[in-house]
Amino acid sequence: MEKAEVAQKIYELVEKSTGKKKLKSSDIQKTISADLNITRDDVKAALKDLVDEGKLIYTYFGGSFVEIPPK
């Protein structure tokens, strides 16, 4: 699977969860690697791209989470 597709899935997962449950990086890695049957390192690499591009950011609220940046 292309990295960009993985990234798309990650973004959708985070989007769906916004306002309901904050996701941790490990939640995303576990969910996406199981859903797409790929390794967690693949998920990590795609997540890194998303964060480097600024599409997702890390936040801290008594624990670190991955979220969509505020407008």
């Binding site: 306002g19 449950k21 904050k22 609220f61 008594g62």
Partner: protein, 356 residues
């Protein structure tokens, strides 16, 4: 001017670049050291080379002006080499003995305090407080300053039976190893936070606010689209405020500090120990917290009078017994002193042997 090219994941530079030549040469090959005074020690290598370290107190919170002054002195006397200690002291690393006197002279003339080496009170490990932290129940820097003013002689010259390690934490998160210090001041909140329901509704994510509470004291209050707090479970930790500022933990009337004693981290003689509660509460009284200084002085004086040489505060108290400690110091013993947390039953006296 464009900013320079950023790089990621490079980590810190290798420490070797920052070691003075005498250390590079004798790395891992030191023979012994001697404490020459409260503020100076000399290490001798197997090669015969020597390194003098001159230790100076810093308030930890430093302006760039003071750092530049340190740098200038390091250049003048130490080939530019300088280090910091775990306890926020500054160490000038002198390789050439003839620079030792002039450095000390300059430090003295600028009113820097040399000390902290040997069986003395070293600088106080502490946290951010009102300077910079959202959960602070008191100010750490202020309390550190007044304690060190009071005990300045024990930093520079006077000796104690063994090292006395002081710490100040400005809330129960205790960002600083207070729980294993000889004498520590921990700031505490004492009241369940108040909730501004209208603001909670607009500003906070309810699920993350509930999840933030370590004791599970927070639950939804659907009628107000807000949360409620179970007063019996709340430990006043302030985590909820961190996540959701309309839940207000600060309370100037009731916030203050507790004093804990008898902890240590080293393994020497006896195992590392936690500090235990000596005084459950003293009201905040800025700017100089005279009641806190007096309380710490009372405990320190009792220790100096009673301890054998090399005994740390905790070792002294364990030898004489806690009941004796309370008797000697005259500190009142209250319900707060009896543990009702997870290790409670380990702390109950399961023997008929004790002192009157």
């Amino acid at each position: 001017m464009a900013a320079p090219q950023r790089r990621t994941d490079i980590g810190p530079p290798h420490f070797k670049e920052f070691l003075p030549p005498v250390i590079q040469k004798n790395y891992g090959d030191w023979k012994h050291h001697e404490v020459l005074s409260g503020g100076v020690m000399v290490h001798t290598a197997n090669s015969g080379d020597k390194l003098w370290s001159v230790r100076v107190a810093s308030p930890r919170l430093l302006s760039t002006d003071t750092i530049r002054d340190y740098a200038a002195m390091a250049e003048k006397y130490c080939g530019g080499y300088i280090r910091f200690t775990t306890r926020n002291n500054v160490e000038f690393l002198v390789s050439d003995e003839k620079n030792l006197e002039p450095l000390q002279k300059e430090l003295n003339s600028k009113k820097y305090m040399m000390g902290g080496i040997g069986p003395r009170i070293s600088n106080i490990v502490h946290t951010q407080g009102w300077i910079h932290c959202h959960s602070a129940a008191s100010d750490a820097s202020g309390i550190v300053k007044v304690l060190m003013d009071e005990f300045a002689d024990y930093f520079t010259t006077k000796e104690t039976p063994n090292k006395v390690r002081l710490a100040v934490a400005c809330c129960v998160n205790m960002c600083g190893a207070v729980h294993c210090s000889d004498i520590a001041v921990v700031a505490i909140h004492r009241k369940v936070p108040t909730i501004d329901h209208d603001k909670v509704k607009n500003m906070c994510e309810i699920p993350s606010t509930i999840a933030a509470c370590p004791t599970g004291a927070i639950s939804p209050e659907p009628s107000k689209k807000s949360v409620k707090i179970n007063a019996d479970k709340c430990m006043y930790c302030g985590n909820c405020f961190t996540v959701c500022p309309p839940i207000e933990i600060h309370d100037p009337e009731y916030d203050g500090v507790a004093i804990v004693v008898g902890g240590k981290v080293g393994n020497l003689r006896s195992n590392p120990k936690f500090s235990k509660l000596a005084i459950p509460f003293i009201k905040n009284n800025p700017p100089r917290w005279p009641e806190v200084t007096a309380a710490v002085k009372k405990i320190l004086d009792a220790y100096i009078a009673g301890a054998e040489k090399h005994e740390r505060v905790g070792e002294w108290i364990e030898r004489i017994g806690w009941e004796k400690f309370f008797k000697i110091t005259g500190l009142p013993f209250t319900f707060q002193h009896i543990d009702d947390f997870v290790v409670a039953r380990e702390t109950f006296r399961t023997a008929a042997t004790f002192k009157w």
